[in-house]
């Protein structure tokens, strides 16, 4: 099977079969990460560039290691260190990278839709590593990979996503992906941080964290960005934590074997207590490992397009 598009811009555009295929491929890749010799020839001769217009530690490192584990040539562009700082347009920057023979461009950008614009103007495959409030598809894929690994399936699972849904590209990608894979998604967060008309996507929206947590199989807690408070979206971290923070008491509302997830970095004591973050059901650290596996799978699948296509 081959991915239909040359790019991975969002889970909004993927079919359930494509998601399944990526997750299956990631399963194979995970062996590489956990083996002694972390080197495969899958991307030998391929050139991968990460183009990050926003700070990132784990996503960027995860992509870089994924490229290196599979023998690609990789390079990084920092927006502040390049001609971007001189006011070069995204399309011009993209074309420059393209013309150097790059096979895959991995972009993170503060504006929603920036990867889509780039993808239209370059021959290289574009992977969205987070665009504005829109999508962060590789994060959602690694979340789904983690859930599937622990629970065997996504279908029929009750997944609660808690926090600042409005600004969260992680939440959006998870909503697209999880609903497509047959999971039941419920959301809870301050009313000022819920996007309008989200219910039209087939998710349930609750104004109390309790309702969303009841019988949850999975909880995805989102990072609360402190600067939102300054914009009067909620009154204080203290109040947020009191009404939406996850502690051991609230955890009891969920199923006994609930998975606790967080895309990181965590504000301990804000969106979840340390006891919850380090709970035996927390898979926050495993998510990080799975992130590399999922990104390896994607790089492999996207660079394989055009080869053996007729065989499928």
């Amino acid at each position: 099977m081959v991915l239909k598009s040359k790019d991975l811009l969002g889970l909004k555009d993927l079919t359930a079969e494509e998601i399944e295929h990526i997750l299956d491929t990631a399963k194979a890749m995970k062996y590489v990460i956990t083996s002694n010799n972390k080197r495969t020839p899958h991307l030998q001769g391929k050139s991968i560039v990460t183009l990050f217009y926003e700070n990132s530690t784990r996503t960027r490192l995860s992509f870089e290691l994924a490229s290196k584990y599979m023998s690609a040539s990789s390079a990084n562009i920092n927006s502040s260190a390049s001609s971007v700082a001189k006011g070069e347009s995204l399309i011009d920057t993209g074309k420059t990278i393209d013309m150097m023979g790059t096979d895959v461009i991995i972009i993170r950008h503060p504006q929603s839709g920036a990867p889509h614009l780039l993808a239209k103007h370059v021959k290289a495959s574009v992977i969205n590593a987070g665009d504005g409030m829109n999508e962060h598809p590789t994060q959602a894929l690694l979340d789904m990979f983690t859930i599937r690994e622990k629970k065997g399936t996504l279908r029929g699972l009750k997944v609660a996503i808690i926090g600042d849904i409005y600004h969260s590209r992680v939440a959006r990608s998870n909503i697209w992906g999880l609903t497509r894979m047959g999971a039941e998604v419920s959301l809870a967060g301050p009313a000022t941080l819920l996007p309008p008309k989200m219910e039209m996507l087939g998710v349930k929206i609750y104004s109390t964290v309790h309702e969303a947590l009841i019988n949850a199989d999975v909880i995805i807690s989102l990072r609360m960005q402190l600067e939102r408070q300054k914009k009067a979206l909620f009154p204080s971290i203290r109040e947020y934590s009191r009404f939406f923070g996850l502690d051991e008491n609230r955890l009891r509302l969920a199923k006994k074997d609930v998975l606790i997830m967080h895309p990181g970095p965590i504000n301990r004591g804000v969106e979840l207590t340390s006891a919850v973050a380090d709970h035996e059901h927390s898979v926050i650290n495993e998510q990080v490992t799975n992130g590399v596996a999922v990104r390896m799978a994607l790089l492999y699948l996207l660079t394989r397009r055009g080869i053996n296509e007729t065989a499928d």
């Binding site: 347009s89 399309i91 039209m200």
Partner: protein
């Protein structure tokens, strides 16, 4: 020079003429309208099967001159207007320098006289520099030739200043045109707030950002008993608020633009920056309400809000793209295709909303074919179909969301001050 337009279906609201007649132009004036005229020594235009209308008047456009000539200038903008069937256009003051003083008004008028293909009427600023702080010299603007005042692009945020602007402008009998947008509510939104903005992960501008300020203007107008004109109405509640105010006798007039009855926010899907405009494209419910507002005369005027932008300002990330779309060359066809042909409005109403009413708002003696008036005439075949191709626009800018649309009723002929400027869909 005499010009005879034969066999056209003439509609003139002011004189009530409505039927197939010949129309004689003598020099720059309408000389007469009657059946079977046959004077000697005339250039003849056969308008059989076509409508002959008073030249269209656009109450709201941006010619970008002075200051942004890379987007448009008076020459290219008026060429584009002529191709769209407009014989007079009123251009907004968000130029550089801002049209907030006599000298910029005179610059525009002089340049239009030299290079313009159609009549150009500058609109002056309400406040100095469009900053919303101090009143511009509205009296001097008026005497220099400005036909209205507006801070278009920006709202006049201060209610107190808006009250004073209305009072002060009324002294000079000049229309005040309000761009209604509560910028606090709109925040850093880039499209309509709703399902589509959620789908695209883009920040939304709530309909309420327009409606709260429409309500404010209506209340001020009613309180002061001074007229107000609301620019580019785009939401269902704005239409309803204005409808109610009119019933109470408030001296309000308003306009909408073709994109607000032709497109919804779904046009932004795929991050199409050509669909980025302010106020933003709304929902289907709003489109229906705008159409009803046009049909029941709540909405008096259809203006273009022609807003040219360079391709480099549109071929960028959606949030960073400039707001606005070109409109001269698609406005008449959209009105014909979306409103006239489906029977929502008659051709007579089209003349009211695209010629007579805008002329009234601006206080200019246009919008009629009455003998003796200037010969500004638009000829249109509402059964002629064409495909919109922005690359063929006369405008310098090509930022139209209507590329590829199949429409009817492109202007077939445009006559300005007795001189044919467009004939058989071709600029002369």
């Amino acid at each position: 020079m005499k010009l005879l337009i034969k066999n056209g279906y003439i509609i003139d609201v002011k004189t009530g003429i409505d039927g197939i007649y010949d129309l004689l132009v003598d020099d720059d004036r309408i000389a007469g309208i009657s059946k079977d005229m046959d004077p000697e020594g005339c250039e003849i235009i056969d308008a059989g099967g076509k409508y002959v209308l008073p030249g269209l008047v656009d109450a709201h456009c941006h010619l970008r001159d002075p200051g942004f000539e890379y987007k448009e200038d008076i020459e290219s903008g008026t060429r584009s207007a002529a191709m769209g069937g407009f014989t007079s256009v009123a251009c907004m003051p968000n130029t550089n320098p801002v049209t907030d003083n006599e000298s910029v008004v005179k610059y525009i008028l002089n340049k239009a006289k030299r290079e313009g293909y159609v009549n150009v009427y500058p609109i002056g600023a309400i406040t100095k520099g469009l900053k919303g702080e101090e009143l511009a010299e509205i009296g001097e603007l008026k005497f220099a030739g400005a036909v209205a005042v507006s801070d278009d692009g920006n709202p006049v945020k201060s209610s107190s200043l808006m009250k004073k602007a209305m009072q002060y402008a009324s002294m000079f009998d000049i229309a005040v045109i309000s761009h209604c947008e509560d910028t606090d509510l709109a925040e850093d939104g880039v499209m309509n707030e709703g399902f589509t903005s959620t789908m695209l992960g883009l920040k939304g501008i709530p309909a309420a950002a327009e409606e709260t300020m429409v309500a404010r203007e209506l209340i001020l107008s009613e309180y002061l008993d001074i007229p107000i004109h609301i620019a580019h109405v785009s939401t269902a509640l704005s239409v309803e608020l204005i409808r109610n105010a009119k019933k109470r006798g408030v001296k309000v007039t308003c306009e909408t633009c073709p994109h607000y009855f032709s497109l919804t926010d779904e046009a932004c899907m795929g991050y199409d920056t050509n669909a980025k405009v302010n106020p933003p494209l709304r929902t289907d419910k709003d489109v229906q309400a705008v159409i009803e507002g046009i049909a029941d005369d709540t909405i008096d005027i259809i203006a273009t809000d022609h807003a040219p932008h360079h391709i480099d300002e549109k071929r960028v990330e959606f949030s960073l793209a400039a707001s606005g779309m070109v409109g001269f060359e698609t406005a008449l066809p959209l009105v014909v295709t979306k409103l006239v042909r489906p029977g929502i409005i008659t051709m007579r109403k089209l003349v009211e909303k695209m010629s007579l009413n805008p002329a009234k708002l601006l206080g200019i003696s246009k919008g009629t074919l009455e003998p003796g008036s200037t010969a500004d005439i638009t000829i249109v075949d509402i059964n002629a179909k064409f495909t919109v191709d922005p690359e063929k626009f006369e405008s310098k800018s090509k930022n139209s969301p209507f590329a590829g649309f199949e429409l009817y009723g492109q202007a077939w002929g445009t006559i300005v001050n007795g001189k044919p400027v467009v004939s058989e869909n071709i600029l002369l």
